[in-house]
């Protein structure tokens, strides 16, 4: 008889792979991507393609020539990083800035720690914040969503508009109505504008069990409660909860950025604390800080807290607390 294969149990696997997980994230990003193509036209296409191609290329080059490890781009994680980076950029950002952002995101944010799973901070956000601090003017001039379909002008000389959050900070301009906020008809980064598209993507991720509800719900819940209290205390000074929930990068951050596996806690209980932390810091920065937007910073700060949360907040062990319960007759 020929030799049999010997290996320890289990002999079955659910056939899930890193690649399939990343593919699911990409699928979940499609609705928001379509909305940004609709509103920002050619600009969205140019920015996203540049970001994705340069992220993949940098990962390949670093893996091949610096780390000399096994080719890792097939796992699609750099495509996700690239697309998420693009989602966080204005649609008329100069290409060389995008390429620098991609290099920082992949080179410093991810590969310098050893690649996928080893990075302490969300690579796309590292890239974005680097760009925001280095090029504050370009990073905060958001093109106005197109109302007529003049594709070619959309990237080159797009009209810029302030975001609703910037309007709140400076008390100027007229806030878009709630419907526009939901659909995404407002100034903002490429992928953050349409709350509905992002929520559809989020539901897809939860249904496919790529992410659990803990992080998005705790972030959005915290922001909603905190801003509602502030609004109730002084409606003149503080915007209402729905404005906060539907504007800026909150939806994108809560659903796609904060849920990044490597940089978020590993059990549901710790994830709730992590989400509450992000929601809290976001509102603090938005209402009391110098920047109009705080989600990126809030997520990066809580990324730093993640190892502590993992260490101190453990999942509930079996038999930890014996429930005194009568046997059902």
């Amino acid at each position: 008889m020929k030799n049999l294969i010997i290996s320890p149990a289990p002999h079955a696997h659910n056939n899930d792979t890193v690649q399939k997980t990343m593919l699911n994230v990409l699928i979940a990003l499609v609705p928001a991507y379509l909305v940004s193509l609709y509103f920002f036209g050619l600009g969205a296409l140019i920015v996203s393609l540049t970001a994705v191609i340069s992220c993949v290329l940098f990962e390949y080059l670093i893996q091949r020539f610096l780390l000399k490890g096994k080719n890792s781009i097939v796992d699609l994680s750099s495509v996700v990083t690239g697309l998420l980076l693009a989602f966080n950029l204005p649609s008329n950002l100069p290409l060389w800035m995008i390429i620098i952002g991609a290099l920082v995101a992949i080179g410093i944010g991810k590969m310098s720690f050893g690649g996928l799973g080893n990075n302490p901070f969300n690579p796309a956000l590292v890239g974005r914040v680097f760009l925001l601090i280095s090029f504050p003017v370009e990073m905060t001039a958001w093109p106005r969503p197109m109302n007529n379909w003049n594709i070619f002008s959309s990237y080159i000389d797009a009209e810029t508009a302030a975001t609703p959050l910037a309007m709140l900070k400076g008390h100027f301009g007229e806030l878009p109505n709630t419907m526009d906020l939901l659909l995404g008809n407002m100034g903002g980064s490429l992928g953050e504008v349409s709350a509905i598209a992002l929520i559809i993507g989020g539901l897809y991720l939860i249904i496919r069990k790529v992410i659990s509800w803990h992080i998005p719900v705790s972030i959005l819940g915290t922001v909603a409660i905190f801003t509602a209290i502030l609004h109730a205390a002084n409606p003149e000074l503080y915007a209402s909860a729905d404005i906060h929930l539907l504007t800026g990068g909150l939806m994108l951050g809560a659903i796609f950025m904060a849920t990044d596996y490597a940089t978020s806690p590993m059990n549901g209980k710790a994830q709730l604390f992590y989400g509450i932390g992000i929601g809290f810091i976001t509102v603090i920065i938005r209402t009391f800080g110098a920047y109009p937007e705080g989600v990126s910073f809030a997520i990066l700060i809580m990324n730093g807290v993640t190892p502590l949360l993992n260490h101190y907040i453990k999942p509930k062990r079996f038999g930890e607390k014996v429930k005194a319960q009568k046997v059902t007759k």
């Binding site: 008889m1 049999l4 294969i5 010997i6 290996s7 320890p8 149990a9 289990p10 002999h11 079955a12 696997h13 659910n14 899930d16 792979t17 890193v18 399939k20 997980t21 890792s72 796992d75 994680s77 050893g114 690649g115 996928l116 799973g117 080893n118 659990s212 596996y261 490597a262 806690p265 590993m266 059990n267 549901g268 993992n310 453990k314 999942p315 509930k316 062990r317 079996f318 038999g319 930890e320 607390k321 014996v322 429930k323 319960q325 046997v327 059902t328 007759k329």
Partner: protein, 446 residues
């Protein structure tokens, strides 16, 4: 519908051999009977070379309390008492019996008629004694002597008997088929065990993928006192003792404790049938139903196998080993062990043979852990497999002990659900062995 509260997975159940009637495997020319088919001290041989034995005769006696008798599965002559090798190359002291004539001459005391015996005449103590003498052990896989479980330590109180009819391992169907064909017998067995434990309440936990068995058992339960059927939501590892107790009565056995700590005793449904046969028919444990299955197996099904029959003979009756076989597993795909050969005899521990094709046998290369936490989500004991693995790699034994590595039941949920295909359970098992050794050494030094 009820289920356990922490972790768990939903593997495809692959019950390919469901509803195939039990078929008896032909008796072997030579039976190899291991002396240790149970947890505890191996039995002591009481026959010598040249002795003639009949089916059901005691050939090795229990050696102490946590030990059981071993009986002759076929009639014939004892040719030697020697070491046989199991499927992993480890020595098994065994008694070799060569069949004489057809090898099927039984002891006269054994009732071989198929008639039901509903007369309860033994006291609890006598039932327990009979169970030990008949060599009955837990047939769910652990092979812990049944009479020990029926003798709770002084000061503890049994409230409920839980019958494990979950069969949550994918592919295996032997318990299911036994329930369909021997329902009445199993209920008499449950009543006997309730008598032995001096309780009036038993719960049979059956997973929802066995609707016909649930229906049949509910019908029979109406005629029996104190036996309740509890349909359970399909979820692995529901057949784990602690998970089943949690699922049926909502109590969690504390870390390191036995089910008796929450007032429960758990017995497998096949064990219950063996108890019926031992007490009511005087038949010791010399055979069991096992599943022979796999996508490529031509005559897959449920086979009644006399112990001592080489597994190769069992597979031959099921159509032989297919050409493209990669792995042959003793047990199911989640907790079974891959065998290096099939010459090992069937015994109390072998609940099934799963033949996997070469394509099914491949383990993918592991890639980086991306800290997705799927293993934490899946762990039914609420452990953190990713962390235990890191600590095992770094040999941080104390930290592993603090993180409750000894609670691990080795169900394989973590490895099953890892997208990076990390060898999680392999490392945890290694850590568990080392930490267990450290704990035992510490205990002896005190």
């Amino acid at each position: 519908m009820k289920t356990f509260r922490i972790g768990g997975i939903h593997p495809t159940d692959h019950k390919l051999s469901a509803n195939i009637p039990i078929e008896t495997v032909a008796l072997p020319k030579q039976a190899i009977v291991p002396l240790s088919q149970h947890i505890g001290a191996p039995a002591q041989p009481i026959v010598e070379k040249g002795d003639h034995v009949k089916v059901g005769q005691v050939i090795a006696a229990a050696n102490g309390f946590v030990s059981v008798n071993v009986h002759a599965p076929i009639s014939g002559v004892v040719t030697k008492i020697d070491t046989a090798l199991d499927a992993w190359g480890l020595p098994m002291p065994s008694i070799f019996i060569d069949a004489e004539e057809d090898g099927d001459e039984w002891l006269e005391t054994i009732d071989r008629t198929p008639d039901l015996n509903r007369i309860y005449k033994l006291t609890g103590k006598e039932i327990i004694k009979k169970i030990q003498d008949a060599g009955i052990v837990g047939l769910g896989g652990a092979c812990f002597p049944t009479h020990v479980k029926l003798s709770p330590p002084p000061g503890s109180k049994v409230e409920v008997l839980i019958i494990n009819a979950v069969e949550c391992e994918p592919y295996l169907t032997c318990d299911h088929q036994l329930m369909l064909e021997r329902g009445e017998e199993i209920f008499i067995g449950i009543s006997l065990l309730m008598r032995a434990l001096e309780i009036e309440h038993a719960i049979v936990g059956i997973e929802n993928n066995k609707k016909d068995a649930i229906e049949l058992f509910q019908k029979i339960a109406n005629r029996h006192f104190g036996i309740e059927i509890c349909p359970l939501k399909l979820r692995y590892p529901q057949g784990g003792e602690k998970q089943l107790i949690d699922a049926t009565i909502g109590r969690q056995v504390p870390s390191g404790a036995l089910p008796i700590a929450v007032g429960a005793v758990v017995q497998n449904v096949a064990t219950v049938y063996a108890v019926y046969e031992a007490v009511q028919k005087n038949k010791p444990l010399i055979d069991r139903v096992m599943t022979v299955t796999g996508e490529s197996v031509t005559r897959r099904g449920n086979y009644l196998v006399r112990f001592g029959t080489p597994l190769a003979d069992v597979i031959a009756q099921a159509g032989g080993i297919p050409e493209n076989t990669g792995k042959i597993i003793a047990g199911g795909p989640m907790m079974g062990r891959a065998m290096s050969n099939v010459n090992m005899p069937a015994h109390k521990r072998t609940s099934g043979i799963l033949i996997m094709t070469e394509a099914e046998s491949v383990r993918r290369e592991p890639v980086n852990c991306m800290r997705c936490g799927k293993c934490v989500e899946a762990c039914p004991m609420g452990l953190e497999p990713f962390l235990l693995v890191r600590q095992a790699e770094m040999r941080l034994w104390d930290d592993m002990e603090q993180n409750a590595i000894m609670d691990c039941i080795e169900c394989g949920c973590c490895l099953y659900s890892c997208p990076s295909n990390r060898p999680l359970l392999d490392y945890v098992r290694m850590g568990k062995a080392t930490v267990g050794g450290i704990i035992r050494t510490r205990a002896t030094q005190k």
